[in-house]
Symmetry: C2
Subunit: 310 residues, 2 copies
């Protein structure tokens, strides 16, 4: 499957700016392909820097290999010139490689790989997983560090070992400290441990402005996949060095971040928002995730209206 790897200075630029993570909406336990294509087209029209399909927000862990191959293909077909990255994580290495092959056939520009766990993994297990994947494919690999879902914790040393692997282009870090100085120190420490061409992307939307201001190159964004406009405002301000403007726009969205914190994380809330906006069918998340209840949804729609996100 391996194809020649092209690496040059400009290649890294795909792994900066706003990467938007769309939902993969289900209807009656099957992917709603039309709704998904619509989400992708909406992101391209909004001008996001890249689209990451089948991230955690895209429910990759819940979908079959065939569903995932199909979603990768639709994403690439509807993204126009916007680069598409696709999540390839799975519990078993051989299944990860099969996903990588599908994504490569779909024509994606990179893969996002989280070390999913059921049994806890050691650092060496995870290093070998990334080694095997980077040996298998010529596609750029984004290291996906998301301990809330994988329950695996990367050390700075493991970042460094994995970032040295040919093909690794970016690390999606789970977040930054809330205080700007601490955030800058955190990002600087990671920067010092990894090769210069490997970008650092913040996730955890509530602190994305802080992360970008602290030196992160990219924002791997949940809200970017459904509400690209405010995510772009924050990103473009931070990229221009307008740190206060980035923070101000993030502060304006505080009621949204509060919902993420109070209603069990970003996924259920962003799905409820996309459902409220009519972008996806009702109850679009895979069971057993039942999504928000009626009173929680009222809170969500109130915030959407209050913030002018409709």
């Amino acid at each position: 499957m391996k194809q020649p790897r092209q690496q040059n200075d400009s290649a890294a630029s795909s792994f900066t700016g706003l990467s938007a993570f769309p939902l993969t909406p289900l209807r009656d336990d099957a992917v709603d392909e039309r709704a998904f294509a619509g989400l992708v087209e909406r992101l391209t029209a909004a001008g996001v820097d890249s689209i990451t399909a089948l991230g955690s927000t895209g429910s990759y862990a819940y979908l079959t290999p065939a569903e995932r191959a199909r979603v990768a293909r639709i994403a690439v077909e509807h993204a126009g010139a916007t680069p598409v990255f696709v999540g390839v994580g799975d519990l078993r290495t051989s299944r990860v490689l099969a996903h990588v092959d599908s994504v490569q056939e779909a024509g994606a520009a990179g893969v996002l790989l989280a070390p999913m766990t059921y049994q806890p993994l050691t650092d060496d297990d995870v290093y070998e997983l990334f080694r095997i994947v980077t040996e298998h494919t010529g596609l750029p690999v984004i290291v996906y560090d998301n301990p809330d879902t994988t329950h695996f914790t990367f050390t700075l040393e493991l970042y460094a070992r994995i970032a040295e692997l040919p093909g690794v282009v970016s690390i999606k870090i789970p977040g930054v400290p809330a205080a700007p100085d601490a955030a800058r120190e955190h990002v600087t420490a990671i920067r010092g441990a990894i090769p210069e061409h490997v970008t650092i992307g913040v996730s955890g939307d509530a602190l994305a402005a802080t992360g970008l201001n602290a030196g992160c190159d990219a924002w791997y964004s949940v809200i970017g996949g459904t509400l690209p406009a405010p995510a772009l405002s924050i990103t473009r301000a931070a990229q221009a060095g307008w740190t206060q403007e980035a923070v101000a726009e993030s502060r304006r969205l505080a009621p949204l971040w509060d919902l993420f914190a109070e209603l069990g994380g970003s996924l259920r809330v962003i799905a409820a928002i996309a459902e409220y906006l009519g972008l996806v069918p009702p109850s679009c998340l895979p069971l057993p995730i039942r999504g928000l209840n009626r009173s929680q949804r009222v809170r969500v729609s109130d915030v959407v209206v209050e913030l002018g996100l409709a």
Copy 2:
């Protein structure tokens, strides 16, 4: 798929005593069916009370639906008159139901269901999962509480709600406190919350004797799947009321419990033991789980020899 459920007093007796959890050995990333059949026959010959295939020890989370259906069938075919339970956990409810159908077709005597998570689940999500599964099948359902792998924590209240569902016959609890009085208090509290016909099975082998002595009806056992003789010694002693003998046999195995604690859990150690004993092929666990390294394996084989387990 649903077939008439037969419930009577004697039905509960299948869910007591020693339930042995065999490995599902892989060779070159495919199930080694002959080795697996050999493990099952060995357990039946040893006289365990039941066999639970595709538990966490049986790597259920890593196998494809086809592999899991095949393993269920082999287990039932080679278990003789010993009841076979099969793990049906998956991240998506529809896949759980598909596994349940395969297991029912294979002729198993029950299913073991863990609420696997990627996104965290709410109590209501998990209750609904069990409700949907018990409505779907007439097979008895064992509730599988294993927070180390699922990262879901059951409350006593949720045990109670789920245990009321028709078809729920047993709860596999993750362990008991080490002190005998605290263990008895813990088991008594669970007992008081659930219907009388629902059995309580301890897991966490190191404290299984404590759990059985504290009133657990069953031991869902990792070592029972590979080393049935010492597991049966502990179980039969506890069942006879010989609490000191049960504890003494468990204490004799302390070097094994120490290995579980020091080498990252029971799975890698029990796999290394089965490999050392020639019961399964080398490197029988699914990648990315790489198993123990050479020096760790020497420690394991030393303990096997020291304890006379070969």
